[in-house]
């Protein structure tokens, strides 16, 4: 210890750092290529998107985005020209470029469905999860361990396995293909994560705060509201984003239980068809728009990510 400082004994050498850095940067660059490709494709014209060899340099176009959001039925440039003056940006673009519109797109309503269902179920899951987590964290609940394991075990089931009876149940109750049905379902799936994560966060808040509040004359409920909730805000926000990401990305239930009015974007995007096959620029545009919120959340969540993906079993 006297000869070298404690740190230099185990600190990696500059050389090994350089090698490690190079490998990591290479891996990161390769793994991000598919996403950059999606982004690039969304700005290509349909012929450019299927050119071989793949075009890295191309004239950017927003045809993909126009085709994604158009409400016009399938039509040719001649037909569009016969309609009179162009209304709106997309009309002008399709006229200027002599685009062939592939058909009315349902992307916008599907995207709105995704928003409603993801935010609705997140709100419910976090609300129920916060209450339960507080209950498990602060009170003597009979069979608490078994109940917590039961809550976790609901995640072991393959979604397709529960989908059959849920499909039948929803058909009986008139909940099939409704946003309410999907919100209830995603809430049930997410509440397990919310309870486990939030219990970890609430366990970390010292009980002394509530005790002090209760000595000051607050009831337990007021103490929960005034002291615990404000302390748990960060944890609640992180939990909410994890629930949101799950509900936003979910595919299996959405594909099996919704077909029209309540369909979300994940099962819809693969069905975007254009002239003779998939309209890849439109698919890429839908994918890009769909991925952007998640990318923003990922960057915001970096520090909490580990907790969220392991149900709080691992803390950093």
């Amino acid at each position: 210890m006297s000869l070298t400082t404690a740190h230099s004994v185990v600190a990696p050498s500059a050389n090994s750092k350089r090698i490690a850095g190079t490998i990591i940067v290479l891996y990161a660059l390769i793994s991000i290529v598919p996403l950059l490709w999606i982004f690039a494709t969304s700005f290509k014209t349909p012929p450019d998107s299927i050119a071989y060899p793949p075009k890295i340099l191309f004239q950017p176009s927003i045809e993909g985005y126009c085709n994604l959001f158009t409400t016009r039925t399938r039509q040719t440039p001649d037909y569009i020209n016969s309609l009179g003056p162009a209304t709106g940006f997309c009309d002008e673009t399709s006229r200027k470029r002599n685009m062939v519109i592939a058909g009315p797109s349902n992307f916008l309503p599907r995207f709105v469905n995704s928003l409603i269902i993801a935010f609705g179920s997140t709100f419910c899951a976090v609300f129920l999860g916060t209450l339960s987590a507080y209950g498990f964290s602060r009170f003597k609940v009979p069979l608490a361990d078994d109940l917590l394991f039961f809550i976790l075990s609901t995640r072991f089931m393959p979604p397709i396995a529960v989908a059959i009876p849920i499909y039948l149940m929803y058909r009986e109750l008139g909940l099939s293909d409704t946003a309410l049905g999907m919100i209830l379902l995603y809430t049930a799936v997410n509440v397990s994560l919310a309870v486990w994560l939030l219990k970890g966060f609430i366990d970390e808040i010292p009980r002394e705060y509530e005790e002090a509040a209760m000595i000051d004359g607050y009831t337990r409920l007021q103490a929960f509201w005034r002291t615990v909730l404000p302390q748990a805000t960060t944890g609640i926000a992180a939990t909410a984003i994890f629930c949101l990401i799950f509900a936003w990305n979910e595919y299996a239930f959405a594909a099996l239980l919704t077909s029209g009015t309540a369909q979300t974007a994940p099962p819809f995007i693969p069905t975007i068809i254009g002239e003779g096959g998939q309209d890849w620029p439109a698919v890429a545009a839908g994918t890009t728009i769909f991925l952007v919120p998640i990318l923003v959340f990922t960057i915001l969540l970096r520090k909490q990510l580990l907790r969220g993906i392991t149900f709080g079993a691992v803390r950093k």
Partner: protein, 315 residues
């Protein structure tokens, strides 16, 4: 991971304060707080599960709700255990779980081990690596179909650029022997960051003084790796394997979008078989029995694994 809850319950509310009843009693409040969650889970998870158990003993078909339902006893279960196709699907699933976990653990741990060196800019590049796992498997799987396209796709182009094999020969999705690998590649691309993140937490949890002591004892780097790094990170690696194992056992979205189980049934994993039986052939009773068998299998394997994990942790 599950034992911790016991400790938390043990140090519950101090008695005198808990007894201070004003407004709602603590007991009432606990019940009030916990019951909505339990009721929701009973309605949307447990009730359907029991319904599925009931259906698994019948010949019910969801597309013919008016037909008389006959009780078949254990006939559905017997038929499943004797059904060749279902065993093939289970083998395919096992094959996927094995390869994805092996690749993800190897690559993920190596990446974590390299990032742990804290080179300049490591935080930024780690974030970049984490992006794929945050995306929707379905949306990403659909786009990988485009990348795999032999005539136009980037993947075939890149491979053919390196190997000089003509791109038309790189039929990732329609070639019987390549199709399973096309799914394994996407799954590994997507979920390696997940394993990496958990491994990184494991490596960061090893206290520095252990390495200092090993250095004083003049242990070689190799020796330090095998005697300190790996054993101390093992519980974390095992946790990652548990989570990935459960998820990949249930794998549906990626397979459904990339190959749909084909070509033939070469990539037909259990979830895809289940979907075909339940929502295409409408054999509701039969598929319910299969679902119950799958659930029991996941539950049983996960329980055995958690026991092993706890043993490793206590060492």
């Amino acid at each position: 991971m599950l034992n911790r809850t016991a400790e938390n319950v043990a140090r519950a509310t101090p008695e005198p304060l808990a007894r201070k009843v004003r407004g709602i009693s603590d007991k009432g409040l606990a019940w009030l707080f916990i019951s909505p969650t339990i009721l929701l889970l009973l309605a949307i998870n447990i009730f359907p599960l029991f319904w599925a158990i009931y259906l698994s003993f019948t010949n019910f078909r969801a597309n013919r709700p008016n037909e008389v339902v006959k009780n078949l006893g254990f006939a559905n279960y017997q038929r499943i255990l004797g059904d060749q196709d279902i065993w093939i699907a289970m083998q395919t699933t096992a094959h996927f779980v094995f390869w994805t976990i092996l690749l993800q653990t190897l690559i993920g741990f190596t990446l974590a081990w390299l990032i742990d060196r804290k080179f300049r800019g490591h935080a930024f590049w780690t974030t970049i690596i984490l992006v794929p796992m945050m995306l929707s498997p379905a949306v990403v799987g659909n786009f990988w179909r485009f990348l795999y396209e032999p005539q136009i796709g980037l993947f075939a182009y890149a491979i053919s650029f390196v190997t000089r094999i003509p791109p038309t020969d790189i039929q990732m999705l329609s070639n019987v022997s390549l199709a399973p690998w096309s799914i394994i590649i996407v799954d590994t691309w997507m979920w390696t960051p997940y394993v990496m993140l958990i491994c990184l937490a494991g490596l960061r949890s090893i206290p520095e003084y252990i390495y200092e002591a090993a250095e004083v004892d003049r242990a070689s780097n190799w020796r330090q790796f095998w005697s300190i790094t790996l054993p101390m990170a093992l519980p974390f690696i095992m946790l990652a394997v548990l989570f990935r194992g459960i998820e990949n056992f249930k794998m549906f979205d990626m397979v459904n979008l990339l190959t749909g189980g084909g070509p033939g049934s070469t990539t037909e994993v259990a979830s895809i078989t289940l979907k075909r039986q339940a929502f295409e052939s409408w054999r509701t009773g039969y598929s319910s029995a299969f679902a119950i068998i799958l659930f029991v299998a996941v539950f049983g394997l996960a329980n055995i694994y958690v026991k092993a994990l706890n043993k490793v942790k206590q060492r």
